[in-house]
Amino acid sequence: MSDAIFTLHDVGFSVPERTLIADVSFTVAPGEFVTIGGPSGSGKSTLLRLVATLLTPTAGTITYDGQPQDSYEKTEYRRQVSYCYQQPSLFGETVWDNLAFPFQIRHEEIDEDRMVQALDMVHLPANMLRQPITDLSGGEKQRVALIRNLLFTPKVLLLDEITTGLDTVTKDAVHEVIKNLNHQGLTILAVTHDEVELAAADRLLTIVDGRLAVSV
C-alpha cells in the first residue's frame, strides 16, 4: 500500500532474555482509526511506543509518511505523531503550565484563547486554567493531558487506553473528541478495551504474546 501513513515491516522489540514484540507487520492508511486489542501484557503498549519513537525497534522497520521513522528529527516526529499515556502525569503547578508547554517547545506566543477553547472541547471550564493540578480529579487530569496533545493538531494520535478508569460522562466527552478528530482526517491508533472505541474503529488489530494474531 503506497499511500500508507504507517508501514510496519517485521517489527520486533527485545530486552535482555525477553522478546516483547516479534514479526509485527501492518499498514495504516491516512485518516484511518485502528484499534489494538489483546490480553494484558501482550505487548500492545510496547507496540504503540515503538510507533511513537519512545522505544526503538530491535528488529524490522517502521515507515512514516513514506520515509523511515529514524530519518525524522525525533522532536518533529513526536509533534506530528502524538502519544497519550494511560495514566498521564501533569507537570508544573497549574493547568496553565501544562497547556503552555506545547507553545513553549515550539517557541510560539502563548494563546490563552486557544487553551480555553481546548478546555471547552472536553467540557472543562475556562477557570480551570489557573487551577492547581493537585486539585484535579483523575478524569479532569486525563482530559487536560489529552488537550495538551491536541493544542497543535498532530497528524496521528496514539492513544494508550486513555479512557480506562474514567467515569461514563468523562468517557463520552473523550469519545466525542476522538470521533470528531477522526472525522476531520486525523489518523488514530488506539490501544483499548473500550467497546465504544472498538465499534467506532475502522479496523481491529489483536496482539497476543507480542505477535499480530488477528487483523479484522
Binding site: 519512545l54 525525533k74 495514566q87 498521564p88 502525569s89 507537570f91 508547554f101 506545547p102 517547545i105
Partner: protein
C-alpha cells in the same frame, strides 16, 4: 602575633574527644564506630602528609610545584564528586572540567584583582577551599538530578512524547539541581558571622590578626565560594543532563 603550637601531647588528649564519639556510637547502637576510626586514621595520615608536603612546597616556592598541588586537589575533588553521581556516564570528566573551571576562574580573578598573590602559601589553601566547596555543590547537584530523573520519570517521558528537546525536557530538573548545589553556600553566606565564624576568618583571628582585617578576607572567601559553587554546579549540571538521554531522545536507565 601569638605563636600557635599544638603539641603531640595535646593531640593525644584530643583523641579523648573521639573516644566520646565512639562511646556514644557504641552505647546508642548507631553503628558508626568503624567509620569514626577510619575517619580518624585517614585524617591523621592525610593531614600529616599534606603538612610536610605544604612545608616543602612553600619553602621551594616554584610555580610548577604549586600548580601540581592544585591539580592534585582538583583531581581528588572531581573523583569524590563522581562518587555522588551514581552511574551518570562521564561523571569524572564532567566533574573535572567543572571543578577545574570553577577553581581556575576564581583563582585567576582573585590574583588579577590583587586579592591574593601567586605564592604557594596562598594559592594552595585557597584552591583547596574552592575545590572542596565546588565538589560538595556538584555532588549535591548530581544527587538532586538523579533523584528528580527517577521521581519525575513519567512527567519527563510525557514532555519527550510531546516533542520536547532534551533541554526543554530537563531544564526544570537542571535548575532545581543547581539550586540544590548552591544552597549550602548561600545559606552559609546568610548566616556567616551570626551562626558560624568560618575557617578563614577563625584561622586569621587565631593567628592574631585584627578581626576587622580578618573579616575582609572572609568576605572575599564568601564571594569567591559563591562564584565557584555557582560556576561548578552550573557547568556540571549542563554537561550531566544530556547523559540521561540516549541517541534516540529517550530516557536512559542507569541508576
Amino acid at each position: 602575633m601569638t605563636q600557635l603550637i599544638v603539641t603531640p601531647t595535646a593531640l593525644i588528649f584530643a583523641v579523648a574527644l573521639v573516644v566520646v564519639a565512639l562511646v556514644i556510637s557504641l552505647k546508642e547502637k548507631i553503628g558508626l564506630e568503624k567509620d569514626l576510626i577510619v575517619g580518624v586514621i585517614r585524617a591523621v595520615i592525610q593531614l600529616t602528609v599534606v603538612g610536610y608536603v605544604l612545608t616543602y612546597i612553600i619553602r621551594v616556592n616554584r610555580h610548577w610545584l604549586t600548580l601540581l598541588m592544585v591539580v592534585i586537589i582538583i583531581v581528588n575533588a572531581a573523583w569524590n564528586a563522581r562518587g555522588r553521581a551514581r552511574g551518570i556516564p562521564h561523571a569524572f570528566a564532567i566533574s573535572l572540567l567543572a571543578i577545574t573551571t570553577a577553581t581556575a576562574g576564581t583563582i585567576a580573578l582573585l590574583v588579577l584583582a590583587g586579592a591574593i598573590a601567586f605564592v604557594p602559601s596562598q594559592i594552595v589553601p585557597i584552591s583547596g577551599m574552592i575545590a572542596s566547596n565546588a565538589m560538595v555543590a556538584i555532588g549535591l547537584a548530581y544527587r538532586s538530578m538523579n533523584g528528580q530523573f527517577h521521581d519525575q520519570r513519567q512527567a519527563l517521558l510525557e514532555r519527550l512524547s510531546l516533542g520536547a528537546t532534551k533541554y526543554q525536557t530537563a531544564i526544570a530538573v537542571v535548575r532545581e539541581a543547581i539550586r540544590t548545589g548552591m544552597s549550602p553556600t548561600i545559606d552559609s553566606a546568610k548566616t556567616v558571622g551570626l551562626v558560624s565564624l568560618p575557617g578563614m576568618m577563625s584561622g586569621l583571628i587565631f593567628a592574631g590578626v585584627d578581626p576587622t582585617k580578618a573579616i575582609m578576607y572572609q568576605i572575599m572567601v564568601t564571594f569567591m565560594l559563591m562564584a565557584a559553587t555557582s560556576l561548578g554546579s552550573t557547568i556540571a549540571c549542563y554537561l550531566a543532563y544530556p547523559q540521561f538521554f540516549n541517541a534516540d531522545l529517550q530516557l536512559r536507565n542507569f541508576n
